[in-house]
């Protein structure tokens, strides 16, 4: 191996250390008792599994986990479908006001989230959606970057494929559903993964909407448990370790799409 390549490998390993160590410590601490879990010990050993048992049995953790899963999955499914529909229309169909409407969609990128929290809370108060799933889900259903990504992707799929289907008697809707949509899988995956991870991690909006512990998502539940109290690190690390599993799994399986999605848009949700 050339010395230059070896240097690159070593450097890539050394630079990764500060990014990994906090998580490495977190996982180790979750297998230790109350006193040991607070220590900055980095050699791996399993002292106890009781933290996991405690977290699952005692706290509202499972409820929050289920809420987070439900909200993330439903938001992702609906938001991907909505993005695909409008991305498709904006790229494939010419209709009156198309460009104006697309500009209207893109224009929302100029409106930062903080300016919407007060009026949106009043809105869901009037709709009686406070402390409900729909109150958390519905406001984040349209994902502008997703619409943009889908529009760009549908442009790359040859239109002739659909024309052939329509000539064979398919309705335009079926041509979309059966021909173009399956071909858009890479873009759909990128939007889906991106949405799932950002909804799973979302904090401020669920914090505002969810008011009773049975409606908390994982970040809200963790915050309410830790806030203003002495943190029991052995239990907390067990809970956070369980909480990052879905995002790590989704990321590990679909990494390629995820990175491509960010690279294409560079935009945080």
């Amino acid at each position: 191996m050339k010395p230059k390549n070896l240097a690159l490998l070593v450097l890539s390993f050394v630079l990764a250390i500060p990014y990994v160590i906090p998580f490495y410590w977190m996982v180790l601490a979750s297998f230790r008792d109350a006193a040991m879990s607070q220590q900055p010990i980095l050699y791996p050993f399993i002292q106890t599994l009781s933290n996991y048992v405690y977290v699952i049995k005692t706290s509202g953790f499972l409820t929050w986990y289920a809420n987070s899963l439900l909200i993330s999955v439903v938001t992702t499914a609906l938001s991907v479908f909505i993005s695909a529909l409008s991305g498709y229309a904006f790229s494939r169909i010419s209709f009156a006001l198309r460009d104006q409407l697309f500009l209207l969609v893109l224009g929302t990128l100029m409106i930062p989230f903080p300016i919407t929290i007060v009026p949106n809370f009043i809105l869901i108060l009037k709709l009686h959606w406070v402390n409900t799933y729909q109150g958390i889900i519905v406001p984040s259903l349209a994902f502008v970057v997703g619409i943009f990504l889908m529009r760009e992707f549908f442009k790359t799929i040859p239109y002739e494929l659909e024309e052939a289907a329509i000539l064979d008697g398919a309705t335009p809707f079926n041509a979309f559903l059966k021909v173009s949509l399956p071909l858009a899988k890479p873009a759909l995956s990128a939007v889906a993964i991106y949405t799932f991870i950002s909804v799973w991690n979302n904090f401020l909006w669920p914090l505002i909407v969810a008011q009773t512990p049975n409606m908390f998502t994982i970040p809200v539940g963790f915050f309410k448990t830790a806030n203003g109290q002495a943190i029991e690190w052995n239990y907390l690390t067990a809970a956070t370790t369980l909480a990052i599993i879905p995002t790590i799994l989704v990321y590990a399986i679909f990494q390629r799409y995820f990175i491509k999605g960010i690279a294409l848009t560079g935009i945080k949700r």
Binding site: V20, I93, V118, F223, T247
Partner: protein, 291 residues
């Protein structure tokens, strides 16, 4: 003929859900927020009235609001340049297609996909007397301290966590930028006498990465001005108000004191600030690709 008419009917049907959500939960709130900012709307009282510019006048005379803006500005000015530089450095190292390097890159990216609440909680421990920061500092004879309750250290501590988490995110933007530079430019530069790696970086990589620098800076800035999660979870704005930021102020007035009109005015000022800063950045940083 009927197929075409049908198609435009489908088009409206297809864009309808997205437009309804965006109009209801983004555009309407933006205007409603502006309207509310001129009222004394309070969730606890039935009636409200117009108060003109009173909310704005009160905001600009509230030392706490000005302080929260100051902390937000310090945070942004410190975090954005450093995280962009770190992201560029990470991008240079991790753009390699070597399998081991790619594996390490996946690990570096983990903070970027982890909940900011979980990150905050772990770093509460890291800055605690038994945490890593003190184990390192004790090597230099510094006595253990809970750095998040030291007023002068709390904001820098939060800033370092933000740099740590977000640099990994923007690394991806730089990797995409680096990978889009045509290889033959480097070959040509070799012929033209750019012998050292530094020369190739300075005269080829860096100029061609300007669009990536622009994206990372603008998005980093917009995100940083909205800092909430880290300072709310790690310190709850404290000690005292040392890490109190603009969005914390808005959140408190809206959801602790129910003063929606006043909070709307504060959020409108934050919006203006974000808007102006991104315009200025656009003016100074935006460049077209020229290859």
């Amino acid at each position: 003929m009927s197929v075409f008419r049908k198609r435009s009917f489908f088009a409206y049907l297809f864009v309808f859900p997205a437009l309804v959500v965006l109009l209801t939960f983004v555009y309407f709130p933006a205007f409603y927020s502006f309207y509310l900012s001129f009222t004394n709307y309070n969730l606890l009282s039935r009636h409200y009235s117009f108060v003109g510019f009173e909310n704005y006048w009160k905001l600009l005379h509230d030392p706490l609001f000005l302080d929260s803006l100051k902390h937000t500005a310090i945070y942004t000015a410190g975090v954005v340049p450093i995280q962009t530089l770190v992201a560029l450095g990470l991008g240079l190292v991790y753009s390699s297609s070597n399998r081991f390097v790619k594996l390490m890159r996946a690990l570096v990216f983990v903070p970027a996909i982890t909940s900011s609440v979980i990150v905050s909680l772990i770093f509460i421990w890291i800055f605690s007397p038994s945490g890593f920061v003190n184990s390192v500092l004790s090597l230099f004879g510094v006595k253990p301290e809970n750095w998040l309750i030291v007023p002068s250290a709390a904001l820098p501590a939060i800033m370092s966590v933000a740099i740590w988490g977000t640099s990994a995110y923007f690394m991806v933007v730089f990797i995409a930028g680096i990978n889009s530079i045509p290889e033959n430019l480097y070959e040509a530069s070799l012929i033209d006498g750019a012998k050292s790696a530094w020369q190739r970086f300075r005269y080829i990589t860096l100029p061609l990465l300007k669009p990536s620098v622009f994206i990372a800076t603008v998005l980093g800035m917009i995100g940083a001005l909205q800092i909430f999660d880290l300072s709310y979870v790690m310190t709850n704005g404290g000690p005292g108000y040392a890490t109190y930021t603009a969005l914390l102020y808005i959140y408190d007035y809206a959801f602790s004191y129910n003063e929606m009109g006043y909070a709307a005015a504060a959020s409108f000022l934050l919006f203006v600030l974000i808007f102006v800063v991104s315009l200025i950045l656009r003016r100074y940083l935006e460049v077209k690709r020229w290859y």
